[in-house]
């Protein structure tokens, strides 16, 4: 089965490691992944700011790019939500019945954790990540898609990973797309509380399924020199145990002790 990867415009330009992690992870699970190069952006930034006309050409591009795929996987709760809940609105706005039909007939779009748990039926993806992690359920994955405990089940199955509770986890981080700059003071006030909860959790790594929210919370954690990093769920799930290579037989014992570590996908 070949799935189309909707990498999202933000990951494409700012977080390509997340896209690569999805490819690594899905291939490891036996899924053929394709990246339709005609894709650009799902149009969510326009729709959520009120620019429906501006989203119409993006929708056409999206539908063309993913035509013919059985399923589309996207490492973002909010982009998945946008495709599922907003594309019809944009199509109706265009006044083009063909576009409305195309939206209705488009392949199903799965947020990464949905695809892994619901379609592939896996919870243990064979990952290894020996760190103390907390998980922020982003609003659109939590409330718009209803991914529920899928991400945390995936994380709990990661070897070496210790999942700690995030206080007030379901509260919005304050990113909100253009809200983050149009109402930056309120956005920062919300983010400051989220960052405080992250620090209270005692985690080393904050994980979420949306790099947009992580850029906001991570930007605050970075400014505070908090010592807490942010990582996309895909990157944690792609990480595997370093392969300790057998020392060549002719080499002496001391060099075998400093076996080369091969990075397993974690940055």
């Amino acid at each position: 089965m070949t799935v189309g990867l909707l990498v999202t415009c933000m990951n494409d330009a700012l977080f390509p490691d997340t896209g690569r992690a999805v490819v690594t992870l899905l291939r490891r699970l036996g899924v053929e992944v394709d990246f339709p190069a005609a894709q650009t952006c799902c149009g969510q930034p326009m729709v959520n700011t009120g620019y429906l006309d501006e989203a119409v050409p993006l929708l056409r591009r999206h539908l063309e790019a993913f035509a013919g795929y059985e399923a589309v996987v996207v490492p973002s709760g909010s982009c998945a939500g946008s495709v599922r809940h907003q594309h019809r609105l944009v199509a109706e706005r265009s006044g083009d019945p063909g576009l409305v039909r195309a939206v209705e007939q488009a392949a199903p779009v799965y947020e990464l954790s949905e695809y892994l748990v619901d379609v592939l039926g896996v919870v243990d993806v064979g990952a290894y990540f020996p760190h103390r992690v907390t998980y922020h359920p982003t609003c659109h994955s939590l409330r718009m898609l209803g991914v529920g405990d899928r991400p945390t089940r995936l994380l709990q199955a990661v070897r070496g990973l210790r999942l700690v509770e995030l206080p007030a986890a379901t509260e919005c981080c304050g990113f909100g797309g253009t809200f983050a700059v149009k109402n930056s003071e309120t956005s920062i006030a919300m983010g400051a509380d989220k960052a405080r909860h992250v620090r209270e959790s005692g985690a080393e790594v904050l994980v979420a399924g949306d790099n947009s929210c992580l850029t906001h919370i991570g930007g605050l954690l970075s400014r505070e020199r908090s010592g807490v990093r942010v990582m996309h769920l895909a990157e944690v799930l792609a990480a595997t145990e370093p392969v300790i290579e057998e020392a060549p037989r002719e080499a002496d014992r001391t060099s075998a002790g400093s076996a080369a570590l091969t990075a397993g996908g974690a940055r």
Partner: protein
Amino acid sequence: MSATFLGTPAFPTAARAALADTQLRRNLAHATGTIRAKRAAVVGEVDEWERLRLAGAALKDRTLRHLDTYLVQLEESLTRAGATVHWARDAAEANRIVVDIARVHGTDEVVKVKSMATAEIGLNEALEAAGIHAWETDLAELIVQLGEDLPSHILVPAIHRNRSEVREIFLREMGRHGKAAPRDLTDTPAELAAAARAHLREKFLRAKVAVSGANFAVAETGTLAVVESEGNGRMCLTLPEVLVSVVGIEKLVPTWADLDVFLQLLPRSSTGERMNPYTSMWTGVTPGDGPQEVHVVLLDNGRTDVLADEVGRQALRCIRCSACLNVCPVYERTGGHSYGSVYPGPIGAILTPMLRGVGHDTQLDSLPYASSLCGACFEVCPVRIDIPEVLVHLRTKVVDAHRGEPKVQNLAMKAASWALSDARRTAAAEKVSGAVGRVLRGTKRRAPGGRGVLGALPGPAAAWSDARDVPVPAPESFRAWWARTDGGRRGNGGAK
């Protein structure tokens, strides 16, 4: 005593002042946190909660679909029960009707049950202008009124005040408007309530005319219902000789049995109680019992315009429970005054612009943007108003009203749409950001984990970066990596 929201700046500006008010932040965080937990506990007890929500939404939708029929039925039922029905197209008409009734009875004061509809039309100010004092009798409304303040919450209008502030207001103001507070008043809730009780009792016993709203109006029987916690409503609705109720036309329910659903949904959603302490219902005039002259003012004031909006009309389901305010992370931090409207919070951000019209006022047009679209409001709404959907819908209307104007945002969105509607153009833009990424790769500032970041930037970038570090763009986009390595199958597949 008149305070209005006129002159409130656009939301981002108003919010900035509120965000810096430490006492407000503390009071709101405490109060919304408490009520949020109470609601969650009592809603969690009801196995059929989701079915109740669906029933509430369906009942309201059916009523709104046949509003013309039910309104006429309500008028007939009320008239049959001895009430006088008045129709008011707007605030001015409604205010004139109430003022005229008070004048006919030669009174210079009325007692009031807390009512959002009368706050919406500015009735107190209209009565004041006619030389008639309107005494608010709800404890929180009394605090707001005595403090010459504005309500900041639908259910708990003085949520922004703590008990020390309430004590100061009572000591300072009560004596100027009636029975003074005891000189040795402390800030214990029981003493504050006792002072309010003594102050208000005098007014209840003296007033000839009472003004109320209604939570529900039953079309088949002509029964009005007021749901409250303090008993002040019961006093107002039973003691005076004349009762005037201002009722929004969306408050209708077709039958008595429909109240079954709403009286389960409302208290649990609003105060976090299984049932509210006082539910008063009256059907016109009952000889020898209660007010002998009953008026009902049916208020439109923009509601039929909202009804005409296919997406927005769901806002008319609202039963004013304020659960959306209590869970809203924006409201929790900015408070109600920032919205510049008697309806604050998420419901206010959709209802106020729709009642007053979108696209002609900067302050009103800023309200649909006063949300991160987190969806917590929709999740708790007892009548399933999809507030995020309506917010986005109203943003579209705001944008459409200003299309073609040379605004920065219009130009930026046009440019983004152009660059993102063709993958070659997107790739070209990413080449530029990749070049920036390569130049800045050596930046000294590192985020936890090691990625290069930029600190505070000048100009428009400051809105993001004055508190949040900015990640340096990736030297190579995902698209370019895929093309170069055939999706990681060629070369070592690694990142550049």
